[in-house]
């Protein structure tokens, strides 16, 4: 939710219902323009004894979750090189709360499928996903993880999209995607989490309700 805290300084007014508009999130027009990644979902009321914060617990939980996503160290081909580059100093995904890459699924929140999933790897991916603690999120990075990509035709060994194995939250196009695209997908995932909507709710939501 994109709430301008300064707007609610006047505590005498009724608490306004915050309407989510397509513009309040950066999807489709450059996530970096969005201030939602930083906005705290609540209202500050200044009182003589100090400030009072009013918010919804669900919103606070989603806000907390979205700003500390620990990715699993999982890369199966060249997309992993771009993922490492995104983690490195130049693109630095720690700016958005992703720096704590974990080598075990028990401590990871998000799995970035960076690369081709072959039939032999599919059960391993499924097991890693099953071992992750809820809530868990999945990003399909690049053409291979999205659809099999260059290995869609005339191959006996490649899974035609990682979503045949585990559910995917965000897909990125590219072969491989640039680090900026990965950053965009990570921020998109944050906004999806902050919206608090399930996959089904997103599907049935009206355009103005979508994140």
């Amino acid at each position: 939710m994109n709430v301008d805290i300064t707007k609610y300084n006047d505590s005498s007014q009724n608490l306004p219902s915050v309407r989510r508009t397509p513009d309040s999130f950066g999807v489709g027009r450059g996530a970096f323009q969005s201030s939602s990644a930083l906005a705290f979902p609540g209202e500050v009321h200044h009182t003589p004894g100090g400030g009072v914060l009013v918010s919804k617990l669900d919103d606070v939980i989603n806000w907390a979750r979205s700003n500390s996503l620990w990715p699993l160290v999982f890369g199966t081909s060249c997309c992993a090189i771009e993922m490492m580059s995104t983690a490195g100093a130049k693109y630095d995904w720690s700016r958005f709360g992703f720096e704590v890459a974990r080598a075990t699924p028990r401590q990871a929140d998000v799995i970035i499928i960076a690369g081709t999933i072959v039939n032999k790897m599919a059960p391993v991916l499924k097991r890693l996903y099953d071992q992750m603690a809820d809530p868990k999120y999945v990003i399909a990075m690049g053409a291979c993880a999205t659809s099999g990509g260059p290995f869609f035709y005339n191959t006996y060994s490649v899974v035609k999209g990682a979503d045949h194995v585990i559910p995917v939250d965000v897909y990125i196009a590219g072969c491989p995607p640039r680090p900026e695209a990965l950053l965009h997908s990570l921020i998109t995932l944050q906004e999806k989490i902050k919206s608090g909507m399930t996959r089904e709710q997103i599907k049935t939501a009206k355009p103005e309700q979508r994140f």
Partner: protein
């Protein structure tokens, strides 16, 4: 030793072999039956001294299979490509894993991908393909997999 001297020396050793220089490196074609004797000389002759098998693979030409051995020496650094034509219906050839240990894994991969049967190989079983894979060789040109393959 230069590559010309190498070719002269190889011609002297292997009279039945044919040579080609279509590619970047010197090619030597031999018959499958001559492989053990040839590799033995290539490896153990003090001048030839081909002590490094840096690539071993197979090519499916639809009419026949061709085994390809890329050799070089840490001494003279001259590469040699050894080619052996095989019968596609019954591909059989002697292993070179006793001469170059690295061939053990290469031959396991060629065995599963092309179905070449390596005689006297110490451990000829599938390398990468999953257990229970039945006899079909994915790198053959006529390989079909109706379940997994989507034809263009």
């Amino acid at each position: 030793m230069t590559s010309e001297e190498l070719k002269i020396k190889l011609t002297a050793f292997f009279q039945t072999a044919t040579f080609g220089e279509s590619g970047e490196w010197l090619n030597m074609n031999i018959a499958a039956a001559n492989l053990p004797a040839t590799t033995n000389i290539l490896r153990h002759d003090p001048v030839l001294n081909f002590d490094y098998l840096f690539c071993q693979t197979c090519v499916d030409f639809k009419t026949h299979l061709t085994m390809v051995y890329h050799l070089t020496s840490t001494g003279h650094r001259l590469p040699l490509v050894l080619k052996v034509q095989l019968d596609r219906n019954n591909p059989e050839i002697e292993t070179v894993s006793q001469t170059w240990k690295t061939a053990e894994f290469h031959e396991r991969e060629i065995y599963e991908m092309f179905g070449v049967n390596f005689l006297n190989h110490p451990d000829l079983r599938l390398l990468i393909l999953p257990d229970g894979w039945e006899g079909r060789n994915p790198m053959r040109k006529d390989f079909e997999d109706p379940i997994n393959m989507i034809k263009l």
